[in-house]
């Protein structure tokens, strides 16, 4: 009914006690700022992990060779050598929706060129690999399906390997000796940075899996098969079909365990982001505690203010203020303090996370929703912690209040 003048009254009262108002708001500023910055850091970390998972490629299904037990020693995933090249071909042939398959073998070895050498990872892949992992070349050309069929001595190298062996020289067309086999470098991959596990993904040599199996690693089985599905909605069905296809091909009877493992990118992403989600919640909760402390600060100051201004309340009531007018006045004071603190806190939080990402190189991500939630929460803190003192003020008896010393 009389909101506008009451706003004015509350505003004047806050201005009368500038220092106190600023200090009270500071509690909320720190609380909201901390929430914004902490959630920003958590979300940034989560977004980074998600980006790294996405760098595995879109709609990818990974099939790992199973574990085997030999003389009581279990080899772990990929150790059993149960996946054959023919399995990959069968998937390419029989599973609907498949748009790319890459047979993968992996090894680590010493590579050399001229007087330089470097210990790096060798990935044997099909020509689909670069599409599946959405990993374009920075320079040169990838190897071709023909290179794969002929097991040609060609390879593509990552940025780290290129720098370590060739420095600033252009590596394309150069010869790289891998286990004394000369490979011609056809291209350099775009840098991808660290994997979710912290491995430098650019420290790599990618070659046709046929060349890797025949000339570098030896062996006849695949460590894993990367499969890409065209449509996200088909991923689950394809996963089921791959499982039944492989069980059938490997002659696994019903009731026996698979000798392979099928993981979708989705499952991997969920596992990886679970950690950062927990971190976000934890950081947010810790920052939330400081917001709570800020709220208690508001309540404390409002209680002091009500006591201190008992006579003022008495005068206001004597000249016609209703209990509700007094309640509204003190509520508005509390909410104004907390929302101004909230706005400044949001600005400080954004600034703090900018500083962190610039100087500490932490990825931060501030969403509109976290800003909106922080603001509404700070206003709610004002209402929640302002209500008790405001109600106390509104319930005062005018005669007692006027007589208060």
């Amino acid at each position: 009914m009389r909101i506008a003048p009451t706003f004015n009254v509350a505003y004047r009262a806050l201005r009368r006690n500038k220092m106190r108002s600023v200090l009270t708001a500071l509690g909320i500023i720190i609380g909201v700022g901390a929430v914004i910055a902490m959630v920003g850091i958590g979300n940034g970390a989560k977004a980074q992990v998600e980006a790294q998972i996405a760098s595995l490629g879109q709609n990818v299904i990974l099939i790992f060779s199973g574990s085997t037990t030999s003389s009581g020693i279990r080899t772990g995933w990929g150790g059993a050598g149960t996946l054959k090249i023919e399995d990959a071909e069968a998937i390419r042939r029989e599973v609907p929706g498949v748009i790319g398959v890459s047979e993968e073998v992996v090894s680590t070895t010493q590579v050399a060129a001229g007087n330089q050498n470097w210990f790096t990872r060798i990935f044997g892949e099909s020509a689909d690999y670069f599409d599946i992992r959405q990993w374009p070349l920075a320079d040169g050309a990838p190897f071709t399906p023909q290179d794969v069929r002929s097991a040609n001595k060609v390879c593509v190298i990552g940025r780290t390997t290129a720098t370590q062996i060739y420095g600033n020289e252009n590596p394309i067309g150069q010869i790289l000796r891998i286990k004394n086999v000369p490979f011609t470098i056809t291209g350099v991959l775009t840098p991808k940075g660290l994997s979710p596990q912290g491995v430098d993904q650019d420290d790599i040599v990618v070659m046709p899996y046929t060349s890797a199996m025949k000339r570098v690693i030896g062996g006849t089985t695949l460590r894993n098969i990367n499969v890409q599905i065209g449509d996200a909605r088909q991923v689950e069905a394809a996963q089921q079909q791959i499982m039944s296809l492989l069980r059938q091909r490997h002659n696994i009877r019903a009731g026996r365990d698979d000798d392979f493992t099928v993981r979708t990118q989705q499952e991997i992403a969920e596992a990886a982001t679970a950690t950062s989600r927990v971190m976000t919640v934890l950081l947010g909760a810790i920052a939330g505690v400081s917001l709570l402390v800020g709220g208690i600060g508001i309540m404390n100051i409002m209680l002091v203010s009500v006591t201190e201004r008992t006579r003022e309340i008495g005068v206001r009531m004597a000249v016609g203020a209703h209990g509700n007018d007094i309640l509204t006045q003190f509520l508005i004071e509390a909410v104004t303090l907390s929302s101004i603190g909230g706005v400044i806190g949001i600005i400080c939080g954004i600034a703090a996370s900018r500083v962190l990402s610039i100087y500490a190189h932490w990825p931060t991500l501030i969403s509109i929703s976290s800003i909106a939630i922080a603001f509404l929460f700070s206003a709610a803190v004002g209402i929640f912690f302002g209500f008790y003192p405001a109600r106390k003020a509104a319930a005062l008896d005018p005669i007692e209040a006027l007589r208060y010393e």
Binding site: T6, M317, V319, I399, L402
Partner: protein
């Protein structure tokens, strides 16, 4: 009763107290503060309510000011029974019909004279723009002799000036009745006379004033003295030799000028 009410309407009584009692409960004790007061105050009267402390005059004042409700009996203000109204209704009555002046001024600290005077308008049912608020506050401040001091804070004003701000605040809503509780209690004698001069001028203009005081010479500025003891009215009489504050001020001014001339 009906007969009496008709009379009151005819003769224009502003205040009618009919057998008003007020009992305070402190623990299990019942403390009677007002014990059967019947009083009638007509429009345009200037009443001094007197009595020793504990005589019940403050309680009666609170009832008259609609700050408190009688335990029993009736209070008719402006011909409407206000003894049964709730908190908010009483607040509205206070806002519209009563202006308060307190012993300790009760101004809002660190707030300008203008903003202090505006206070009742903020809680008034009529909606005024900020400019209208300002104009009315300035006009009423000017009428109590505070023109040019609208922006002064209470700490920058003398006691007499602060009490004038309080009077301006009491007058801004054009109330039926001015209630003053020991208005000169915190003022020196000269400033007291100045405040009484304002009261007498306001009364000349038709404003009803009820003033609590325990000082005989202050009560002499009123037209009627009501004396209380033990919660009851002991005496109710017209002031025979009324003191004229304006004339006293003029005389003392002249005497001052004379004294000045003598020293020269």
């Amino acid at each position: 009763m009906r007969h009496e009410k008709n009379i009151s309407m005819k003769n224009g009584a502003l205040v009618r107290l009919i057998d008003v009692h007020k009992v305070y409960h402190t623990g299990e004790m019942e403390v009677p503060a007002v014990r059967g007061v019947s009083l009638e105050i007509k429009r345009g009267e200037f009443v001094a309510l007197m009595g020793a402390s504990g005589s019940g005059k403050s309680t009666l004042m609170n009832i008259l000011g609609c700050l408190d409700r009688p335990t029993s009996g009736h209070y008719l203000l402006d011909e409407a029974d206000v003894s049964g109204l709730d908190r908010d209704q009483l607040a509205d009555i206070r806002n519209r019909k009563i202006g308060f002046v307190f012993q300790n001024f009760n101004l809002l600290p660190r707030t300008s004279a203008r903003e202090n005077a505006e206070l009742p308008l903020i809680y008034s049912a009529q909606r005024l723009s900020n400019t209208q608020l300002r104009e009315r506050a300035d006009r009423v401040l000017n009428s109590v002799g505070l023109g040019g001091r609208e922006d002064h804070h209470p700490s920058q004003l003398s006691g007499g000036q602060q009490q004038r701000v309080a009077i301006a605040r009491a007058l801004i809503n054009e109330p039926e009745m001015l209630l003053a509780d020991e208005p000169t209690g915190n003022l020196d004698s000269r400033t007291s006379v100045e405040i009484m001069a304002i009261f007498q001028q306001l009364n000349e203009r038709g404003i009803t004033i009820v003033m609590v005081t325990h000082e005989q010479d202050i009560a002499a500025y009123a037209r009627r003295n009501v004396i209380m003891r033990d919660g009851m009215i002991l005496d109710d009489r017209a002031v025979s030799q009324r003191a004229d504050a304006t004339a006293q001020l003029k005389a003392s001014l002249a005497a001052g000028a004379l004294a000045k001339e003598a020293t020269l």
